[in-house]
């Protein structure tokens, strides 16, 4: 089946399809590569991620200059598979394309000499394909298809190690996401029967239905939010996420910063803005409960993180908390809160992936898995811990790291909406973040190191660790710092989020 492209669009309407293909094709080829074809696999991985990054860069420039990119494939009568690139899509697309490159580099270093690498990188590429599909989805059906593809492609990554613990975590993950997928499908079908369309539209497409189908719309909203809320790890749907920490570090990074959790949060953004429209959602009275759920999740995640000794579990609960900042920003309803929520989509991704890369480095280099084993690790791995420290400061919301910008806009957005309670939530969360992150830094930098590390690997000479493991966290840490410090420059996530909010709230 050939894609049909609107004749009025410029030839570069193929770009969305190329973006998909840039990870899909390498992924399919990698599946069939023998394990020993290290360089071919690496070349395919890197070429795919570089091409994707360049294509996304080109679209970023184009969309900024009012160009449109869309492609559609006939799927069902009256329902096409639509890929459409808008400013909101690009925010997520740029995040996933940029971080995919770094995660690929990291995974190449991390999985050196481990078995089943072709299988791993094959699913890895498919996972990113699904993620960019979610980002570019032009209607709810397309979103649903790629969203479920994401479930199917991440499950093998979660169980990659093949241990009993990994299989158990995978089952829980699958059970949660499949049930949620069914609810999402039910909500989508119900909505289609009412509205007759599923095309994402700025300010939503259900406004005309409010009068006659108020309760149906509320029920659909609940179904859709539960459907995506599992992946966004909203309480009480979050229990799969800490268990999935059994996966290798690059997968954890992918789950938390690039793909699954972020796709869930992005789904909530789409449902509120492009399906219902934020003002209609507020009129239906569904944004306030959503904000309360987000607030509860923020505090719950932080509280649970406080009591975890396992580093990755602590980071996982931190994700539960931090991703709900995005939901809170959306649910507060207002331009500034929207900016805060959207910009945190990128900021949290960059900061959290830094932390997971570092956690992976500690595990791979020294065999450190627990916070209580981190005494003095800053002296042994100063660059890794420097990157980790920057990520931590960002998570707490200290300037000039990116997290400060997110919290600033969320707080200001809450005040703009006439709400004071989110300020207490943000303050409480920041306090808890400080309480569970700062002791890690204290241990790492100021406590005496042990005589021997749990499982130290030699990377030759005085090297801290393999450079493929060290480079990605250093780059993402620097990014976390730079996008916070130079937040008001053109093309930064903040400026992009402002552009989206402006179109959502101020354009007719």
């Amino acid at each position: 089946m050939m894609p049909t492209i609107d004749a009025a669009l410029p030839p570069n309407a193929w770009l969305p399809l190329l973006v998909l293909a840039s990870s899909l094709l390498p992924g399919l080829v990698i599946f069939f590569l023998a394990e020993r074809r290290y360089w071919t696999r690496t070349l395919l991985n890197l070429a795919g991620s570089l091409v994707k990054l360049m294509l996304v860069g080109a679209m970023l420039w184009g969309v900024f200059h009012q160009q449109q990119y869309a492609a559609s494939l006939p799927l069902l009568p009256g329902l096409d598979l639509v890929l459409r690139v808008r400013p909101l899509s690009l925010l997520f697309l740029a995040l996933s394309a940029g971080l995919w490159l770094l995660t690929t580099l990291y995974a190449i270093g991390y999985l050196e000499d481990s078995p089943n690498r072709s299988r791993f990188f094959g699913f890895f590429s498919l996972c990113v394909t699904a993620t960019v599909g979610v980002a570019m989805a032009g209607n709810l059906l397309t979103f649903l298809l790629f969203f479920e593809l994401l479930t199917l492609t991440t499950y093998p990554l979660v169980v990659h190690r093949g241990t009993e613990e990994a299989r158990r975590a995978g089952q829980i993950y699958l059970a949660h996401t499949v049930i949620a997928g069914a609810l999402l499908l039910a909500g989508t079908v119900w909505l289609y029967t009412l509205a007759g369309t599923l095309t994402f539209t700025t300010q939503g497409f259900v406004a005309d239905l409010v009068e006659g189908h108020r309760w149906s719309l509320i029920a659909i909203f609940v179904l859709l939010i539960i459907g995506v809320g599992v992946k966004a790890a909203l309480v009480p749907l979050q229990s799969w996420l800490p268990r999935a920490m059994v996966a290798p570090a690059p997968v954890s990074a992918l789950l938390h910063a690039v793909a699954v959790v972020k796709a869930g949060a992005f789904g909530i953004v789409l449902i509120v803005y492009d399906v219902f429209g934020v003002e209609v959602a507020a009129e239906l009275g569904v944004t306030k409960p959503l904000a309360l759920v987000a607030a509860f999740t923020i505090l719950y995640g932080s509280l649970r993180a406080l009591f975890q000794d396992n580093l990755k579990r602590r980071l996982a609960f931190s994700t539960v908390s931090q991703v709900s900042y995005i939901v809170l920003g959306v649910a507060i309803v207002g331009p500034l809160a929207t900016v805060g929520g959207l910009v945190h989509l990128v900021h949290q991704g960059v900061m959290k992936i830094t932390l997971f890369f570092c956690a992976g480095n500690l595990a791979e280099t020294l065999g450190i898995h627990q916070v209580s084993e981190m005494n003095g690790v800053g002296r042994r791995m100063p660059w890794t811990m420097l990157a980790f420290s920057i990520g931590v400061f960002g998570m707490i919301g200290l300037p000039p790291v990116a997290g400060f910008i997110s919290k600033w806009y969320l707080g200001l957005g809450a005040l703009e909406a006439g709400l004071h309670w989110p300020l207490f939530v943000l303050a409480g969360s920041s306090l808890l973040n400080a309480a569970y992150f700062l002791p890690i830094l204290h241990r790492a930098w100021f406590c005496e190191p042990p005589e021997a590390w749990p499982e130290e690997r030699d990377f030759g000479g005085k090297k801290e660790t393999a450079w493929l493991l060290l480079l990605p966290p250093l780059v993402t840490a620097a990014l976390s710092l730079l996008i916070g410090l130079f937040a008001s420059m053109p093309f930064t996530p903040l400026e992009w989020a402002r552009l989206i909010a402006e179109r959502e709230f101020y354009q007719p």
């Binding site: 400061f393 707490i396 919301g397 200290l398 300037p399 000039p400 400060f404 910008i405 919290k407 600033w408 707080g411 200001l412 005040l415 703009e416 300020l423 303050a427 920041s430 306090l431 400080a434 700062l438 204290h442 930098w445 100021f446 916070g484 410090l485 130079f486 937040a487 008001s488 420059m489």
Partner: protein, 478 residues
């Protein structure tokens, strides 16, 4: 490019250059071979600040693309603080000696330095918050092995949160965060209890005002003597300077001013009483700094009122500048007292006694200088009481002695002597400035204090004498 235009450009960029030098040094630490050299040069990275404080023109540098839109500035009130920091940091480096030859400590030293300079040149409150974060956490790193470090970091987190809320509320109120023309934030804080409380607690934790002071005496009681000048710089620039900018003379009036005056006097009194009960001299000095913060708050709260509000802007600015100059003198005197590193009674030589006494005298002179800025009758009662209260600390400070057998780092007389001389020079310059100042020159404001200063001096001297006698009569704890 002519020399004049080069100087003009340098002057315009001076607030940024002040920060760039220590930050560049910190960046160069990425190269292990340079660590030794950077360790040697680190204390002198503050020299551009000295030059900027003395020579740079008043300027505001707009950096709209930084953070949420930023600016840096050099203004008359910031100048004495820049000079003070430029004097204190080399002393700290001098005291740290070999400890600055390792990468970790020298990195923290440079970050704390750039943060504290940033506090002074911050042109808006977001930059101030950034500088406060950098200096505060780096300082925690330097003080981590001292008692009280944990209390310090807890208060730091809480304080930054409160300031974050303050900033949000200021922006929400349409007031803005500009410090270069802080009249609007001042008026808003003076007119709102919530903003006032947030600014008092947020900055108060860093100023170690009584109730939020727990970290300071304990950190000062630790063995790292090089922290003393750094901590004084931090208290003054992170706590007391923003109060001066935001609660400038004239900002507070009515009930808020009266209530705050009583609270400041009470907090100061409590700091004095607890200070007098301390066995160790460094803990005593910690309480003296806490009392100074209370004194400063009192000064700001009583210098407003209806008359203050009617005062012309140049006179208000002149008062603020005169107060800043006197505060910096007090900072230098306290640094001299702290750097002396009290030895046990029997080990003190006549030179120790002399240096100690001289520093106490300079501190008293600075306090009276601050009190002398005030000109209205209604202010006298509070200020005379405050000076009298502070006198209670002067006696124990004069009779300084170390508790127990623990020996602190032995410091030769050259460091306290140099700080004493700097403080004395500062006091002489101020006095000279007052005498020769033409009408309208900022320091001339000090002349307008005909009533309060002599009475305050009398109260201070009498109480100081009594407390000295009491301290001498008290048996030394061993």
């Amino acid at each position: 490019m002519s020399v004049a235009s080069l100087l003009a450009t340098l002057g315009q960029w001076a607030p940024l250059l002040v920060l760039v030098v220590p930050l560049t040094f910190a960046g160069l630490l990425a190269f292990p071979r340079l660590v030794g050299v950077i360790g040697l040069l680190a204390p002198w990275a503050v020299l551009p600040a000295l030059l900027a404080g003395l020579l740079a023109p008043q300027t505001e540098l707009l950096l709209p693309e930084l953070l949420l839109g930023s600016s840096l500035m050099i203004d008359p009130i910031g100048r004495p603080f820049l000079v003070l920091l430029a004097l204190l940091w080399p002393v700290a480096g001098w005291l740290a000696g070999e400890r600055l030859r390792r990468r970790g400590p020298v990195l923290l030293f440079l970050l704390a330095m750039s943060g504290s300079l940033g506090l002074v040149v911050a042109g808006n409150l977001v930059v101030f918050l950034l500088a406060s974060t950098v200096s505060g956490y780096a300082l925690y790193g330097l003080a981590v092995r001292q008692p009280g470090a944990r209390a310090f970091v807890v208060l730091l987190v809480l304080s930054d949160l409160l300031l974050f809320e303050l900033l949000l509320l200021l922006v929400k109120g349409g007031i803005g965060l500009n410090l270069a023309s802080a009249a609007a934030p001042s008026a808003a804080i003076g007119g709102s209890w919530v903003l006032l409380v947030l600014s008092l607690l947020g900055f108060g934790a860093k100023a170690a005002v009584f109730g939020l002071h727990l970290w300071l005496p304990r950190v000062l009681s630790g063995r790292a003597v090089e922290l003393s000048p750094i901590l004084i710089g931090f208290v003054l620039s992170a706590g007391l300077l923003p109060w001066l900018r935001l609660l400038a003379p004239g900002a507070l009036s009515g009930d808020a001013a009266t209530l705050l005056s009583w609270m400041a006097l009470a907090s100061m009194g409590l700091a004095v009483i607890l200070g007098m009960l301390q066995g160790g001299q460094r803990a005593l000095l910690g309480y003296a700094i806490s009392a100074l913060s209370g004194f400063w708050l009192l000064l700001l709260s009583v210098s407003g009122g209806e008359l203050g509000a009617l005062m012309p802007a140049p006179e208000t600015e002149a008062r603020a500048l005169a107060m800043a100059l006197a505060l910096c003198q007090a900072g230098l005197a306290l640094a001299a007292l702290l750097v002396q590193g009290a030895r046990r009674w029997a080990q003190q030589s006549w030179l120790d006694w002399l240096l100690n006494g001289f520093a106490v005298l300079l501190l008293a002179d600075a306090l009276l200088g601050m009190a002398g800025v005030l000109a209205f009758d209604r202010e006298n009662g509070f200020m005379i009481a405050a000076c009298g209260l502070f006198g209670g600390l002067m006696g124990p400070l004069l009779c300084a002695r170390q508790r127990g057998t623990e020996t602190l780092q032995v410091i030769g007389p050259s460091r306290p002597l140099s700080l004493n001389l700097l403080a004395a020079g500062w006091a002489l310059l101020m006095a000279g400035g007052i005498v020769i100042a033409p009408p309208g020159w900022p320091l001339a404001a000090l002349l307008s204090a005909p009533v309060s200063a002599p009475l305050a001096a009398l109260a201070l001297i009498v109480v100081a004498a009594l407390s000295a006698l009491l301290a001498l009569a008290k048996p030394a704890r061993v």
